[in-house]
């Protein structure tokens, strides 16, 4: 697979390590009333879709950026690559 890095252009997926579903960006608030339940779902439960999947890849052998890759789990076709930083900020995380 080739991942089209937003800053570096097309890179071999071998340069990356894979973490999992991009929802891992949205860590629950530990002060929430039902934080334990939310953390259980956050840590252990997955949507695991067959089809479009937004997922976190880490460019370990490159610029060490985290990317959010949108990939089809039925065909391996990658349709979108974003910097995880941008996704997180757009989602209201960070400063």
């Amino acid at each position: 697979m080739i991942i089209n890095h937003p800053l570096l252009g097309p890179r071999d997926a071998q340069e990356f390590t894979y973490l999992g579903d991009a929802s891992l960006i949205d860590r629950p608030d530990w002060q929430d009333e039902n934080a334990a339940e939310k953390f259980h779902d956050y840590l252990y439960i997955r949507d695991n879709p067959a089809g479009q999947h937004r997922e976190l890849w880490y460019h370990e052998q490159g610029d060490r950026s985290w990317l959010v890759v949108t990939r089809d789990t039925l065909t391996h076709e990658i349709t979108n690559v974003e910097l995880a930083r941008d996704v997180a900020i757009a989602g209201g995380r960070g400063r």
């Binding site: 697979m1 071999d12 997926a13 071998q14 390590t17 894979y18 973490l19 999992g20 579903d21 259980h40 779902d41 840590l43 252990y44 439960i45 997955r46 949507d47 695991n48 879709p49 067959a50 999947h53 997922e55 990939r71 789990t73 039925l74 065909t75 391996h76």
Partner: protein
């Protein structure tokens, strides 16, 4: 029809005209006591043991494709019970014992071959870890022999003992491990279940679950609704997709595992051999091909094919321990979809929906578990309580903090 050596000879002399189909192809009835979704190894084994051991014969096994078309027909055929943790080892040893009596039990030649499995160690700490594992195995009634380098050398003189990076310091050998003809396992269980009245309904896709006030009353299929008092789902690889129809999210990611077979060679490997410093396991099929595999590709996928970097990684693992296979040509490679669970161990449990039971999360170790998985799932379906060896395989174990993490790598499915 029962099979015997005499029957083979007789049929050989009479033109093989007397063989009959090994199972029926019935139309689905309107209702059953138990429906099992998925006619793979685990589903068929569950139906077989339900009928044979628990007296529940009004059972249907519903399969989207043809029986045995999933991972039971795509694996590397290795059976073993060399686990460490108390939640796992008694279960896998139970499975090993069932393998040992399987062919007599279901009167079918599954080519169970206890040629032994040898896990190589490449450092002193790894050898210590193997000693601990061996003790754990023996405590659960399994067999384990700790070998030093000379012991391994006697058994497998062809290994690269002096490898600069991965010298072989010894190994742990389970003589009762080995290989089993994977397709025959599905066929044997299917035939055994069918003979006892189980309906195996192929080419019938489950499209949904019939729910009434939060209770599962049966399944909606491409051939109409079928009702049942209990529905058991055993569709590892597709667990996420099927259980989503019941509105469930699971502690599972789907990943692809590749496997490989070479051209046929003369008898070469005495049994199953695994590389301890990377991930590579190999055995030799009765046709002579080396059957081997390694790591999963490591990303979520439902495509039954992987990518080349893992092919390279697996072959490098092979070359690190047995350079003699370097000129062997690869004949085929394929991929199968694995239910990678959050701690590397499976689930055999009731769900929070009454009447709906789940069997899955087998990671890439489901084949060896087939008999015990079927037996324990049948036990749960028939008696509503877990079999004594499968009490830890609960869906809620992450909530309770009782994970069964053999490798100790945490909730990262692609590392298990």
């Amino acid at each position: 029809m029962s099979y015997s050596g005499w029957k083979v000879i007789w049929q050989g002399l009479t033109g093989n005209t007397g063989w009959k189909p090994a199972w029926r192809e019935p139309d689905p009835k309107a209702a059953y006591d138990v429906i099992i979704v998925g006619a793979g190894g685990h589903g068929l084994a569950a139906a077989y043991y339900l009928a044979k051991e628990f007296g529940v014969t009004n059972v249907a096994v519903i399969e989207k494709g043809w029986l045995g078309s999933g991972n039971v027909g795509r694996n590397t055929t290795i059976v073993r019970s060399n686990y460490l943790l108390p939640g796992n080892e008694p279960f896998y040893e139970f499975s090993m014992k069932l393998w040992e009596g399987l062919e007599q039990d279901f009167n079918y030649n599954a080519m169970v071959s206890q040629r032994g499995i040898l896990n190589l160690s490449h450092s002193d700490p790894q050898r210590d870890a193997f000693a601990r594992r061996g003790n754990s195995m023996r405590l659960a009634g399994a067999d384990a022999v700790l070998l030093d380098a000379d012991g391994v050398r006697q058994m497998c003189p062809f290994l690269d003992f002096e490898n600069a990076r991965f010298p072989i310091t010894g190994g742990i050998w389970q003589p009762r491990g080995g290989t089993v003809r994977h397709d025959a396992v599905a066929w044997g269980y299917a035939r055994g279940a069918d003979m006892r009245g189980v309906d195996i309904i192929q080419n019938c896709e489950v499209t949904g679950f019939i729910m009434d006030k939060g209770v599962c009353m049966g399944v909606e299929t491409s051939r109409g609704d079928i009702r049942a008092k209990k529905v058991g789902v055993a569709v590892a690889g597709s667990s996420g997709r099927v259980m989503a129809k019941a509105g469930m999210r699971l502690p599972i990611e789907s990943h692809v595992l590749q496997a490989f077979v070479t051209e046929g060679l003369k008898p070469l490997l005495p049994g199953v051999i695994t590389f301890g410093a990377g991930h590579f396991y190999v055995s030799q099929s009765d046709k002579g091909g080396l059957v081997f595999g390694g790591d999963i590709d490591g990303y979520n996928t439902y495509a039954q094919r992987g990518n080349l970097p893992v092919v390279e990684d697996v072959c490098e693992g092979g070359m690190a321990i047995m350079p003699m296979i370097g000129r062997t040509r690869l004949l085929r490679s394929w991929g199968g979809i694995m239910d990678m669970s959050m701690d590397g161990s499976p689930y055999i449990d009731k769900t929070h929906i009454d009447g709906l039971y789940f069997n899955g999360g087998w990671c890439y170790g489901g084949f060896k578990a087939t008999p015990a998985s079927g037996f324990c799932f049948a036990h749960l379906l028939a008696r509503d309580e877990p079999h004594p060896t499968a009490t830890e395989y609960r869906l809620n174990r992450f909530r309770r903090g009782t994970m069964i993490d053999e490798k100790g790598v945490g909730a990262q499915p692609n590392l298990h």
